[in-house]
């Protein structure tokens, strides 16, 4: 479970660093303020999905999953 959590955190870190790079690039070159609306939508939906993923992660019965599929 700890290993899975580390993988999840690495995934989120990589995801949000990459998203930050794209948004930074967009903020430099965007020609109108309508880009802000899309950036906010992207950030809100991705944050929502990330929070849901963390909640679901804690709902998983990792020891049982481990005994069922990895080490029967």
């Amino acid at each position: 479970m700890a290993l899975a959590f580390i993988f999840l955190m690495i995934f989120f870190a990589a995801y949000f660093i990459f998203a930050g790079a794209i948004i930074y690039h967009l903020k430099i070159y965007a020609f109108s303020r309508s880009a802000n609306w899309m950036v906010n939508l992207f950030l809100v939906v991705s944050a929502l999905l990330a929070v849901l993923a963390i909640i679901v992660f804690w709902k998983i019965n990792w020891p049982e999953l481990w005994t069922l599929y990895v080490k029967p």
């Binding site: 998203a19 967009l26 020609f31 109108s32 992207f42 679901v56 049982e64 999953l65």
Partner: protein
Amino acid sequence: MLNLEPAEKILIVLHHHWIAILGPALLVIFLALLPLIALPFLTGIPDASIVTPLYLLLSLLWWLLVLMLGFIFWVDYYLDVLIITSLRIINVDQDGLFRREFAEFKLDKVQDVSIEIPGFVATFFGYGDVIIQTASESNFTIKEVPRVYEAKNLILKHSGAASAKTVQGFGHPGE
């Protein structure tokens, strides 16, 4: 970023027509629906109560990746832009995520502007290609832009004014 001269005004900013992003948008929707297609098969397996949360977690991570892909498509679409100012035409071509091509020329160099409506779909949705011929006889094509007639009229009107100013600046030979 765009630096305007003191007397320069932005006349119109044109992005590609929304039809240009329709294909990528459909791909994103299809990819987002993939986890839901497999969901009915999951209920039939034994230990579904243990596997389902894991499947949901993987689906959420998949949707995050699909959302990122959609955002990248949109950035590529949004940063492709044609800007017509009172003095020049600027075409920014976003190629991929971080690569950009930036082309600009003065309006007084414009010799001819033509528009091309490529087919029925373009006629129906009101977009087309703007082809600008400059004094260097090189053609400059901007594809799939909306409001082509407005863009053409603006370019012709302001290129005429810019050329007249240039000629006045030289004066008459006898003066």
